[in-house]
């Protein structure tokens, strides 16, 4: 039985052309209710702008952006998956980042609601977003290092040392500075 792929043919063709040549770069799936999901793995992060433009032209809506480490999959790199929706179908565009220089171009100029998503991945995963119009912290305090989710931080440090000697040491340090 031939599987019918539901979706926007122009978008599927356009994004397919941007994908890497690996076997698993493109796949299509459906859930048990018959809703279609399309997955594309782009060749390089630079192609993101072209991919976003294709989706913008098709009146797609940016639903979500997910950044994650593949460390748990025993691979060192980071990845970002951009989830778009067109008429009930989901198009997922994944880019793999270079571990040395984790940078992607901003898609906020094309999708206004990418603003928060990009700011969140800057502060939580230390990903650099080139050309972001408003690269401020979104949720976390300015004092925390960028990419905080990449490392394990003891709760006491995260909560400003509320329950250990850490807080006391900090107060003493501040006092010394003042005097």
């Amino acid at each position: 039985m031939q599987e019918v792929i539901n979706g926007n043919a122009k978008v599927i063709e356009g994004l397919t052309a941007l994908c890497s040549t690996e076997d698993d770069a493109i796949h299509h799936s459906t859930d048990s209710f018959g809703n279609a999901y399309h997955w594309f793995r782009l060749g390089t992060p630079r192609m993101l702008t072209q991919g976003a433009q294709i989706l913008r032209d098709a009146d797609a809506r940016l639903a979500m952006v997910t950044a994650y480490n593949r460390r748990q999959l025993s691979e060192p790199m980071q990845e970002i998956c951009y989830h778009f929706e067109i008429q009930g179908f989901i198009y997922n565009m994944t880019v793999t980042l270079n571990g040395e220089w984790p940078t992607v171009p901003s898609i906020t100029p094309l999708f206004a609601n990418a603003d928060w998503h990009e700011r969140e991945m800057i502060e939580l995963y230390g990903i650099q977003v080139m050309g972001h119009p408003n690269p401020r912290r979104l949720f976390l305090d300015e004092e925390l290092d960028a990419g905080i989710l990449n490392e394990a931080v003891p709760l006491s440090i995260m909560m400003n040392g509320a329950c250990t000697t850490d807080l006391w040491e900090r107060i003493l340090q501040d006092k010394e500075k003042q005097s």
Binding site: N35, R61, M64, T66, E85, I90
Partner: protein, 360 residues
Amino acid sequence: MTSTFTMPLGPVHVALEEPVYFNLTVDGEIVRHVDLTSGHVHRGMEAMATQRNLVKNVTLTERVCSLCSNSHSFTYSMAVENVLGITIPDRARYLRVIAEEIKRISSHLFNTAIQAHIIGFKSLFMHVMEVREMMQDLKETVYGNRMNLAANCIGGVKYSVDAALLDYMRNMLDKVEPQVDEIREIYDTNSMVLARTRGLGLLPKEDAIRLGVVGPVARGSGLHLDVRKDSPYAAYPDVEFKTVVEQGCCIHARTMVRLHEIFESFKIIRQCITQLPDGEVTAPMRQIRTAEACARSEAPRGEVFYYIRTNGTDMPARLKWRVPSYMNWEALGVMMRDCNVSDVALITNSIDPCVSCTER
């Protein structure tokens, strides 16, 4: 002579139910610019999710938010079912929809009640909350809980209902429906409510599209966006209901979308009760593989989106979710442009904001 100055509002304020901090640039009584600072209740829940197994995460995701608690465990369970390739039994599909729609009615009533509270219409506030209380009683009777229903689990639902409970549900709906109809009429005709809501907090259709807003905020600005219709899941393909859309783009339009939607929910629950199939309520778990999947659903506030990546162990390598409020916050900048300082709290309430689920 006019001069602008900055006025802080929040993070803890009488009219704001949750902690968020607005920096308003005001010119006399008129708001010229809105700057939002959040992060007061960030809980790092996505990091916690990768330290718990798939089953424990049902409980964790249910605690992301209280009003849409059921939508979170629902969508999370669907994401896991998609990633593992589980098809849930028919009876579970219907029971999930019943739980979801009961939550939607309560959630919408809560938001409209708070609107009356901010306007200063105390008796209306108490009246709406009293009607909502009947739905809360229904939840407590059926699920044993008033907020976190604990209805969903991976592969289906944890609860079943017998004929007596279904009768109780039907009777309760018959009692609530005429009262909500009365409430709807008050919101649509009362001069005090209309003076504070109609034509205020405008979000034009173009801005709604540009900012990617969802739920009653999008539908109040004339957008036909409803996950239940666009990509039907659970029992939604089998039931008949309308997507409520209003063209007003103002606070009043958003309120009316919510109030009309309650009646669609009554319709859906009644159909589910009548058509409820017999049989199992859960499907067995499957072998966990390395894969990725997403799932989405229509929560009371709009689309909830989940992404999961598994790595062959029982703990997810990545679990990410996005809540409807996430985009709706930015729409506040448009809605509050040139509004009166006294309307800020009311406009904020009109997006049915949720800080705890935005920050996770």
